[in-house]
Amino acid sequence: MTTGDYTVPVGLASDLFRMAPLLAVFAGAMAVMLIEAVVRPTDRWLQAGISGITLMFALGLLVLGPSEGAATAFSGMLRFDAYGAFFNVLLVSGALIVVMLSPDYLQSIGVKVGEYYALILFALLGMMLLALGNDLMMMFVAVEIMSIAVYVLAAIKREDSRSVESGFKYFILGAFSSALLLYGIALVYGATGTTGLDGVQATVAAGEAGALLYTGMALLLVGFGFKVAAVPFHMWTPDVYQGAPVTVTAFMASGVKAASFAAFGRVLLVGFLGSSTEWVCPLWILCALTMLVGNVAALVQTDLKRILAYSSIGHAGFAMMALVAADGSGNTEPASALLFYLAAYTIMTLGAFAVLGLMGSEERDTTELSDLAGLAQRHPYLAASLALSLLSLAGIPPTVGFVGKFQLFMVTVHEGFVGLAVIGAISGAIGVYYYLRPIVLMYMQPGEGKVLEVSRATRVVLSLVAVAILAFGLLPSALLPFCRVAAASLGG
């Protein structure tokens, strides 16, 4: 087993070797924690720096590391394949962007807690495991690693009642959904005698799946529905997104969602492959509801974070179209569309939050729509990049959001769910309205506001995001092959 100059060891050592990116993130998190004990509390750049370097290192390992075919590790607990690798690259990049945005933002809102970076890294570790998890138990553990860190992150502004409320609410509801998830896993175990996805798949394929298994599966749907904020399990999203600090919200909207979808997709497309007749109907309803409610409810919001929260619900609905369309016919197109869309969504939502993050201050960490008035006069480039992100979220060509949505509609129509695609199109059209409102304010209404300081890191992030939105929008072929390979690796 050699690839390039590496000699891949076998057995436990080989498993650990494949884990290298995760171990790097883990080591980084520990280092940040330890350093917290010795540095002055005013100086947080060190932790941010270490986290950034860790993430870049992990990203390097992921991209340049050996990429032999799919293989399971740790007795089938994890599965290293292109699907997991795709998500890991996406998650690490997302976390890197969040870390780049954080120091300035934290300083502006007066949060001086170094553990912040450690928590980001721990949460990331959970997400990466979640994307690789090939066993329901492993997934549950990963979900918990991720969620507990994010609960704390949401409440990291200890003096701010809204931040604490956000963390607390997320914790209570999150714990509840974790319980449902666990209960679902227990039922699946009861029905199949295993928690491994391959084992579940064997039962399903053998036609021995009974009511017990599908009850468990329904509970899993609820649990994952909560994590990806699908209607009607979305109630927590607006409050939590609004109360949490902006960078944490960005992290939740991009990372938590992508990782949850990774697991959701793997459970449905590997574990329950071939039983789509059983779950396609409830999922269809969830998906349609999520698209409609997310987009309609966003119309009446006046807080930008809440708008983006409902937008994230709506986008979860769009992404679920791909899961509905993935009917287990062995066609990997839907999964590929899902991956593309999640990548696109991560890029554009981070772009939007990056601008929001600049608007907070220690006295007043809110993001009212009206704060945006006249932003184009004061900061043309900030306004332009926010506008670009919003247009991409709205799915207007030639942005990456459009190509993503196009693929989703395409697979949905392709598999015969024309009705769902029409509902999606209508929701998309409704959504356009609230994505336009910030643009209207920025460009078409005069407004007085403070002049914002834009750090170099933020500038880099904004330029990267803008380039990515346009580049992948104009030349989707740059990203598509990766999505295809990743989607194909699920089955084989």
Binding site: I396, P397, V403, F409, A421, V440, S477
Partner: protein, 499 residues
Amino acid sequence: MLVLLPLIAGLLCFVVDDREAKPLSLLATLVTFALSLLLWHGYDPQGPAFQFAESVNWIPEFGIRYALGIDGISLLLILLTTFLGPVVVLSATPAVQKKLHVYLGWMLVLEAAMIGTFAAMDLFLFYVFWELMLIPMYFLIGVWGGKDRIYATIKFFIYTMVGSLLMLVAIIWLYRLHMDVYGEYSALVTDYYGIGIARDAQMWLFGAFALAFAIKVPMWPLHTWLPDAHVQAPTGGSVILAGVLLKMGTYGFVRFAMPMFPDATVAFTPLFIGLSVIGIIYGALVAMVQDDIKKLVAYSSVSHLGFVMLGLFAFNTMGWSGGIYQMLSHGLSTGALFLLVGVLYERRHTREISEYGGIASVMPAYAFVLMLVTFSSIGLPGLNGFVGEFLVLLGSFERSPWMTMGATTGVVLGAVYMLWMVERVLYGPQNNPKNADLPDLTRREWTYLVPLLVMIVVMGVLPGPFLAVLEPSVDRILGLMQSNMEPMSAFKMFGGQAP
């Protein structure tokens, strides 16, 4: 090439300042126009269906190509677009007072998108350009528009979006069909002519496409965004909106909805003819009672575009050529009307008809130009409007004489409201002291009006060269429709004869 030039120039305009943006954009639009003239020179009406084709693999995974090509119909519409380009750029100063370079930038991007839409041969590419037109227009109305510009621009955007997203679903459905039939993706529109879509499916697909296009045309009762958008848009925006954007809808019918779904087209014909006639008369009646000149012109567009649709649903060479000719001449004369309204507005900052009166005595040259354009708009023989209108009425008389009679009243009403407006603005006692010493047309205003006037006369006197380019393409599409349709529909539509 024609698409890229204005696009690049437009993007350049965003970064340079106002003083440099003006010559830059003027040069870009002029060169684009010159290039499109070359295109006309090189175009062979008897040659293959689509000429100057470019085709580059764009998203090979989905068989999507960057495929451009033009036939006679798109050629003339592209000419109209590039012709209006420099006119609009010239009219921008001094009317546009803030951020001129951004305004010109958006204008050029818009021009690129419009040319792209007319030339796109790939459904996906067409959709991309179609949507791309929205963004510049949205900013043009929203930033440089009048008092209620935000309401108007959002209404415009949402209306168009609803239609086009459903069209996107329909495009995707077609995609799937091609995949099922031929085992590979293709989005080339020519691949879908005669693919043999089942009748039921055609109805839905036609519905989705037609909704998107009918909103854009706009057909009654989907027209309500138009008066708002027009009244609030800056002059240049109105010119482009009326001159070119509305034609996107009718062009869509000609290129996509009708030839791809001939059976459904026939089935929907009574509905569309009815709506067209209602639109003609309704637009004319509403125009008559307007106090605002711009709104009057906007409603007259509803009426005129009704004629275009009527011509298209006549399914004969005359109706189609007339409809398309009417598209061109409406672009010229309504564009000119909006420019003239803009001229008055710059001087007095009001568009209320009652504020004016007796202008002819202080602005004689203006009065002459306005009269000429008005005559063109109401279809006086010898000017451009007549040719299209006449052909449309001739063509549609063959199909539905009664409806045509209804439409003819629209012509009469058109003369009434236009002349009445002209009378109230230009003639009568000159009793508003504010109008006493208005300056007549400046040299700059002459510069952009004269080409329009020349074209108005030329297209009225010499329709031959234009029709010669149009007719082979029109015949080709009609022939395609006939041969691809079920015998029953073909009989209904063509009465068993060749078109």
